[in-house]
């Protein structure tokens, strides 16, 4: 399958704020995370992709269809799960999802059949005949997902699907989202401001900030190994008052390694070459300390937000960030 979403210089200006600024990004089939703080332009992007709001400038294609001229055709093939609550409390899930299926153009009989199917897939059983006003947040999120999937779209846009869920509910929802791609064969664009979730769920991440593209690359590249060793040692077995960290630090620095502290007990040692491991081991052994941890650090997605200025400097501006 070819590119699912492609935008070129997409810009959206409101009278007082620029929501999207020259956004150029390509999204391939799979589960793609759209990451950004509140107000980063995620919801604006989704509206433009659905053909509901015209871009100020720039172009975009969803499933190969032009967002400016083929909005109706896009909306027939795409499912959308909004962030906010959108369920009338006095109708049942079945009644509601059937109605939404017909709104997507499915004949009445097919709408009923697919509603029964999809509600089962998202894990709603007997309760689907009860008015939705009595549902838990988790059940409501499932119905919202079901209405986005009921017409068998090629792509679903999920806006903050884990909002308001407890940890168990969140895991279940993330599992469900994974299945939407792996079992149902539907591509997913999912937004969230909780980064940990995306590391586990998404194949690819698109990070935007202030309407600009910060980075677009595979999840693996976000979490790839760094050239830093995390080292943690035990206290000295006899001398409880001595500061073992300081001692190790001193020795390693003397050996020509650069060392930083991360938190109270973890030393971050820059890896020069393979001999660095030996140096650390020998140093710790010489001091008579125990080695609790010796591991190569991995990047975390969160880092992209904690050091944005730093990153921009290193790569020559946010626009080029995708190259890094």
């Amino acid at each position: 399958m070819s590119t699912v979403i492609a935008t070129d210089g997409l810009t959206k200006r409101f009278p007082r704020v620029t929501a999207l600024d020259q956004l150029t990004v390509e999204v391939q089939p799979g589960v793609v995370g759209l990451v950004g703080a509140n107000g980063a332009g995620k919801s604006t992007l989704i509206k433009i992709l659905l053909g509901l709001s015209p871009a100020t400038s720039g172009t975009g294609r969803v499933l190969g269809l032009d967002i400016a001229t083929e909005g109706a055709a896009i909306r027939e093939r795409v499912g959308y799960m909004p962030e906010h609550d959108c369920l009338p409390p006095d109708v049942s899930a079945t009644e509601f999802v059937v109605h939404m299926a017909r709104m997507a153009g499915l004949p009445a009989a097919a709408a009923r059949e697919r509603t029964a199917d999809i509600l089962r897939h998202v894990g709603l059983y007997e309760e689907r005949y009860r008015p939705m006003g009595g549902y838990s947040t988790g059940m409501k999120q499932r119905v919202k997902l079901a209405q986005a999937l009921v017409h068998d779209p090629q792509l679903v846009l999920l806006d903050e699907p884990t909002n308001g869920l407890d940890p168990v509910g969140r895991d279940e929802m993330l599992g469900l989202i994974r299945r939407v791609h792996t079992d149902f064969g539907i591509s997913v664009l999912v937004t969230t401001h909780l980064l940990g979730e995306l590391e586990r769920t998404c194949d690819h991440l698109v990070v935007i900030d202030g309407g600009r593209l910060l980075r677009s690359s595979s999840t693996a590249s976000f979490t790839e190994a760094t050239q830093v060793l995390a080292v943690e040692v035990t206290d000295h077995p006899q001398d409880a008052l001595a500061d073992p960290d300081a001692a190790v630090r001193e020795r390693l620095a003397a050996a020509g390694l650069s060392v930083a502290m991360d938190g109270s007990r973890i030393l971050l040692v820059e890896i020069k070459d393979d001999s660095t491991y030996d140096t650390v081991r020998d140093t710790v052994a010489d001091l008579g300390l125990g080695l609790v941890r010796l591991e190569q650090r991995r990047h975390r997605v969160a880092e992209i937000f904690t050091q944005p200025a730093d990153r921009a400097e290193r790569t020559g501006g946010p626009a080029d960030a995708s190259v890094s």
Binding site: Y80, V91, R102
Partner: protein, 302 residues
Amino acid sequence: MHPSPDARTAAADGGVIHNIGYRRYEGPRLGRGYATRSLYQQSLRAAFGLGRSGRSKVLPMVVLALPLLFALVVAAVQIFMKMEKPVLDYTELLDGIGVLTWIFLAAQAPVLLSRDLRHHTVPLYFSRPITRADYVRAKFAAMTSAMLIVTAGPLLVLYIGALLGRMDFGHHTVHLLYGLAAALLYAVLYSAIGLLIAASTPRRGFGVASIMGVMSISAVIARIVYALAGGEWADVPEKANWAAMLSPSWLVNGFTNQVFGLVTDSRVVHAPGAGAAVLFGAEILLLTAACYWFTDRRYRKI
């Protein structure tokens, strides 16, 4: 038809025939027009509480039943008393059940629009093939149809009663058509007004109160102006009838009475003269168009 060998094998094995994996949908996608019609159907059903909780059926069903019951009683009395002429004309019946139609409008127009706004369901519609204009069109058609069902029902009961009572077929058929035309005007104008008010607030109670207020206060004002201009005299002066332009219900009543020649004496509210009838008609048209336009515009911004 013979069962296929596979099906027989499966049955013989007692195995599970149902495939519980995800199934693709390869069937037709009927597009915008179909979706708009489906929204119309669903909204029309919702206007009578169908597909919603039992409690939400009570009011619309009562409002639907009362005029029918009223017409039934009138028709029965006419037959029983072997009357030659009807107790009341079709348009008079509509005027008589006027308050009930206001209640229906006030209660159900917010059901069609405010609920979708309140529960933020609107974005789900607009993320599908239908456009904002389609949405407003479907809701307007549904509200108008619902109003027509409430008002046309008793007219038909009255008509059947008249025919059973062996009254004049020609006269009654023509007057039934007058009544239906008036019912259509009421339905279109009331729906436009009711939906505009309902679209402006996500709060249902507020919508109900506002619609009821607009309908009843305007009628009271028209009544006061009418009375001040001599509407209570035995011989009502023609100019008093201009007061009818102040209220939607009086407007339609005055317009239809004049156009269909139902003015039997000066106390029947009517557009004073042919020129006035044109003015009354123009006001109905303009009010409906303006309300519809504003409703449509409201949804363009969501």
